[in-house]
Symmetry: C2
């Protein structure tokens, strides 16, 4: 928004700060004029709020639908035509793994959908395939991801002046070869990976180390005599653990190990840090495990049992020097290390932009899961009737205020996340095209934040959905169990959510410092400049009492409130960190402020999500792909967006009250309006879930069928 209203945001000049503050204060004292001509004014505003909206589902759906619906439909059709490839409700772990492999092979070799090709060239299409495949069986989506996925390598970011523990995640098998290797690797492996003749694993995590990749202990020692690396597991804590594709299907593994080079006198080795190596683990023809490699099955998991996770121990396994994935660091025949990039940090930074896709994919897929679960829960809640006024017919359970409270803010969040993750995919694709440095940073932090925020939200929501469908939600056929169990780990892999949020907080603090140094801000972070200048004053006691519906539904009020909170949190945590660093050191200070930092990161992500949602509702959006031409659809979106915003403000009302940003009367008005908007959204809930465009053969749950749901349910049971 600021980029539009404030095209020259670089100055930090004091006089301008004051003038802006005055301008803002005057705005606060007068109702804000609507920036749109009257005809374009979003219809969902107060004037029309009392009548039930008539929503043209087709048009709303058209607006929501991505550009790659065709390939998704191809996926659905293929699996529809091959019922023997559908995953049954009850299946043993081993059968599930075999079925999942057959599904993947069928997709690639029979349906001719080759995701690997889009990894580099058309990531939006790759994510669309991932979404569709995940709705067939989430194990299949993950299995496909292990084989192909592009992901994120990242480590040890230094923020301001204190140490910041960071996560390293890396591209999975195919992605690691493309992104960490060089042309020789691509020539040798691309076709085999593409056609699934070279199934592979991504062997990073060890038993003792997940998040802290820099502490991995597996060693790759160069032997200059034979021109080989010796891959070795020095102790049981260094056993590679949770390696997807390892227990059954993998033939290769990208192994992350400390590169050990002989020192000058060859009597010792020096540790060059973690690098990636291609290690063959099974014979290409016989599929026998190769000598020196010990593989065990990690066994039954909470979910995703179609993926064969294994544990790997290496007993001095020799691989040729060529198997080092040497894009960012190489070893010569005589054991000398070289790199085009001067420092470890630079190498990581360069890798970042290439490999951020894993988190983008997870955030995007998590929204797909949320849509699916929400659709099932809401359709059933409309169908299900229970109790009612005396001597009157029973009412739909979605007519109960408590049920609306459970499901309608969730529906609003789903819409909000849809636009935010679509924006992220778009930016990611743009980044892959342009390699713009600023965009790299922006996409990195946004993908970390959205992945963490969205997957945590979806995980919580899946429980709410199950519970809101009562006993019938507990039938496996109605899907909540599998969705929850499969999705659960989204919160952990590709970076534990708590760690990712710390990255976001660290990034915000870095930008905060840059702001004071007059440096550039990336687009998503830009609002902080204005916030810092204008929001850190005492809240305006007049606007703190405004409580009209027009005011509360004004996007300007909503965004201001979100941004104010983030700015306050950012400024206060920076002060606290500086103070504590003196006595506790960087690590201790960071830990002392950790809850505060996580709150800051979530607040920022919520702010970005709201901004993107507001842009999607309004027609003057920068990227024309998101233009919403239909007034009824726009009105519906405006309603949903208001619910998202006010529900979030109400959820955090303590914070707003503590600094008197919101007076008690306004707090009450926000609460009341949020409840009312839930009721309004309930009135168009069917249309809103229909717009997700999930046909019955994708939702599958009998209780959510669009006609004759109960009969389909009784039929399923055998009546």
């Amino acid at each position: 928004m600021e980029t539009l209203n404030n095209p020259n945001p670089s100055s930090g000049d004091d006089a301008e700060i004051v003038s802006r503050r005055i301008q803002r204060l005057s705005l606060h004292l007068n109702p804000i004029p609507c920036p749109l001509p009257d005809a374009d004014r979003p219809i969902g505003m107060a004037a029309c709020a009392r009548a039930k909206l008539e929503v043209d589902t087709g048009k709303l759906s058209g607006y929501m639908r991505g550009p790659h619906r065709d390939v998704q439909e191809k996926v659905f059709e293929y699996f529809e035509s091959r019922p023997e490839l559908q995953t049954p409700l009850e299946i043993s772990k081993n059968d599930h793994r075999e079925l999942c492999w057959r599904q993947l092979v069928g997709l690639v070799r029979e349906a001719g959908i080759k995701p690997f090709r889009y990894v580099a060239d058309d990531p939006a299409k790759y994510f669309a395939i991932l979404e569709a495949v995940g709705s067939v069986d989430m194990s299949l989506g993950i299995k496909m991801g292990v084989q192909y996925r592009i992901s994120l390598l990242y480590a040890n970011m230094l923020c301001l002046n204190w140490f910041f523990p960071c996560i390293c995640v890396c591209s999975l098998w195919g992605g690691s070869v493309i992104n960490l290797g060089t042309q020789k690797h691509k020539d040798k492996y691309f076709d085999g990976i593409d056609n699934l003749y070279y199934p592979g694993c991504f062997a990073m995590t060890e038993l003792h180390h997940g998040s802290n990749v820099q502490a991995l202990q597996t060693a790759a020692t160069f032997d200059p005599i034979t021109d080989e690396f010796i891959i070795n597991t020095p102790n049981d804590g260094a056993i590679k653990w949770w390696i997807g594709n390892a227990a059954v299907h993998g033939k290769f593994a990208t192994v992350f190990a400390r590169l050990m080079l002989p020192t000058h006198d060859s009597k010792a080795v020096s540790d060059m840090g973690v690098h990636a190596f291609i290690v063959p683990i099974r014979h290409l023809e016989t599929h026998e495990t190769l000598p020196g490699i010990e593989i065990h099955d990690c066994g039954q998991k909470v979910g995703l049992n179609g993926v064969d996770n294994g544990a790997l121990r290496f007993n001095s396994v020799r691989i040729p020097r060529d198997n080092l994935l040497n894009r960012f660091g190489d070893v010569s025949r005589d054991g000398k290390y070289s790199s085009s990039l001067p420092t470890v940090n630079k190498r990581f930074a360069a890798t970042l932009g290439e490999l951020v896709g894993g988190r983008v994919g997870l955030a995007y897929s998590s929204v797909a899961v949320l849509k699916l679960a929400g659709t099932i829960a809401i359709r059933y809640s409309l169908l299900r009737q229970q109790f009612g006024p005396p001597r009157k017919p029973e009412v739909s359970i979605l007519d109960y205020q408590s049920h609306q409270h459970k499901l309608m803010p969730m529906l609003a969040s789903t819409y909000a996340f849809h636009f935010a993750t679509s924006y992220l995919v778009e930016k990611y694709a743009e980044m892959k095209r342009t390699h713009d440095e600023q965009l790299v940073g922006d996409v990195h932090a946004l993908s970390a934040g959205l992945k963490a925020y969205v997957t945590s939200y979806t995980a919580r929501s899946l429980n709410v959905c199950r519970e809101s469908c009562g006993g019938h939600g507990y039938a496996a056929v109605n899907r909540f169990g599998t969705l929850r169990n499969d999705h659960d780990i989204f919160q952990t892999f590709e970076g534990d959510n708590t760690v990712l949020l710390q990255q976001v907080a660290g990034d915000l603090l870095k930008r905060y410092q840059e702001k004071f140094q007059g440096g550039p801000l990336t687009v998503t972070w830009n609002y902080l400049r204005e916030s810092m200048n204008s929001y850190l004053s005492q809240p305006n006691p007049v606007t703190a009492r405004w409580e009209s519906e027009d005011h509360l539904r004004d996007p300007k009020f909503q965004l201001d409130a979100f941004r104010y909170r983030t700015s306050r949190l950012l400024q206060s945590v920076a002060v606290r960190l500086r103070k504590h660093t003196k006595t506790l050191g960087g690590f201790g200070a960071w830990n002392r402020c950790l809850n505060h930092l996580l709150t800051l990161a979530e607040s920022h992500i919520e702010t970005v999500i709201l901004a993107k949602f507001i842009e999607a509702v309004q027609k003057y959006y920068l990227y024309q792909t998101f233009y919403c031409p239909d007034p009824s659809a726009r009105s519906a979106l405006k309603l949903v967006c208001d619910l998202y915003a006010l529900n979030r403000i109400w959820n955090d009302i303590g914070t707003y009250r503590n600094v008197d940003y919101v007076a008690p009367n306004k707090a009450k008005a926000i609460h009341k309006l949020a409840e009312y908007l839930s009721f309004q959204v309930r009135n168009i809930a069917r249309e809103l879930v229909d717009a997700f465009d999930l046909p019955d053969n994708v939702t599958k749950a009998p209780i959510a069928m669009q006609s004759e749901a109960y009969s389909q349910y009784t039929n399923y049971v055998g009546f």
Copy 2:
């Protein structure tokens, strides 16, 4: 508490109200003198808070341990001695059902533990067996419950003047025969049930009706010619659904159906409402399904797949008149209806006291699950190290503030729930002995509230536990998946939590009305009298700013704050309901205030839990069974209790701020102290979980083993 300080709480006299207010205000203006002699003052108070507590785990454990540890150990020993009866991680639905049946038969016939005998005579022992059996396999606990459990029948409570939708839940097979039948039924069925020769089902829920039992449609029409009832399923919506034991093992079912009696001229029937009937469903010898009965398998569930839930359709099945469970209503040979109780409501009220045990059992078992999950998550979080200060060893993940924030308030809640549910079991047993009418009402409302509150909390916590253990938390062997999937339905069965909380709110409103009429209040509700008199004034602006640690850790401040909130919510919702009833009618008004009512109910339950926890910490507890003699244990409990209280207040800080009960400086102090207490509790976290007394053969998860956890984990995988 009030019962002690205020032995004559019946007067509503205005002068006394004023005098009490003055007394209270003066208390607020002076530090409250500690009611205990100095030597007995809980040690965890401010003076000693800075040092790490040394906790004698054995003594704390002794205090926590119930009186029936011996029978629990007998259960553990039996299953330890029969490894073939242990449930493997991966098991098909059908095998799991058979295994679960063999487990139950082994327990009863081989180990000689016969739970049915304790149902009536020693319910505390029954619940202890249930807890132990549930830790072997939760399916077994539920299967046992279906066969024997005592539960709750309840319907259509009228509160004040508006209609209040209510739930009916009923005793399961054995309990229904004992509690709804008469001596003839006991004589005929007791031994068969006790010895498992008569496995049975409890057929209440229908496809279309779960919570709203009064709307059940299955019919039982009396045929005066043959002296039989004809049980019939009139339409598919009336198919009995989710009936445990029906798909495979059941031979009988207690079927809930509308009793239809011929009218005077025999040309029509009159509907006498829902009654319970014993219907044989399978042949006692051949186990073949009997004529007219159609049984289908409800199929795979999210969890509890060791229980065989089925769906039943009756096609004019004839049963003798004697099969009516006729304790509260009977039909004579000539088709006349009679009952010892004059109205439907009276009959339900009488049934209530007998059948409340199901919810008591669920609340109690849910705490056991929470203890188990918390023990696994906390032991692993102490073991697991990740990141650390530069060039220093890595630190335990429980040393991170964010991790403490996730797990320590949860640990505090577990302790709080332990004492609250132990109190409930004690009261329940007392009620069974004394049949005291006031106790019946108290136990009923408390069991509904605790069941709803605790099971919802545990369900959320299981997700947090899994997530806080990262990738290793996702291994099935580490148990979070099964615990979550099995426990999930605790939120729904024996009364949907949302419906149960409405019962609590309805009961509070009824008491509120009684208070104004000068009627008696039950013990648990007693605080409302004082609250209403003193708390509904404006909050004291002086105490609203007090922020010393001594003040914030004073149980009086904590309880006052909880009670104040409940009182405010109760008074305001009563006003709103009265207002809305005029325009919307009773049902509409209730629905319009539903979120408010649910908040009220939760607030009340939290208040009761805190009061019970404070009593358990302090030595002057009424019931000497809860006397805690060890000072170190008491100090630990005091610390945990303070964390529970302050964490809850902080979670709802918006409410307190909105009415200026707490000033901004005090809000900040509460937040800071709650964070600090989490850190303090972390320092004794190991001792606190050890005191739950869960040996390694009960926790089972390799990552939570008390020694060599990682080796046991690698061994499990095959290294």
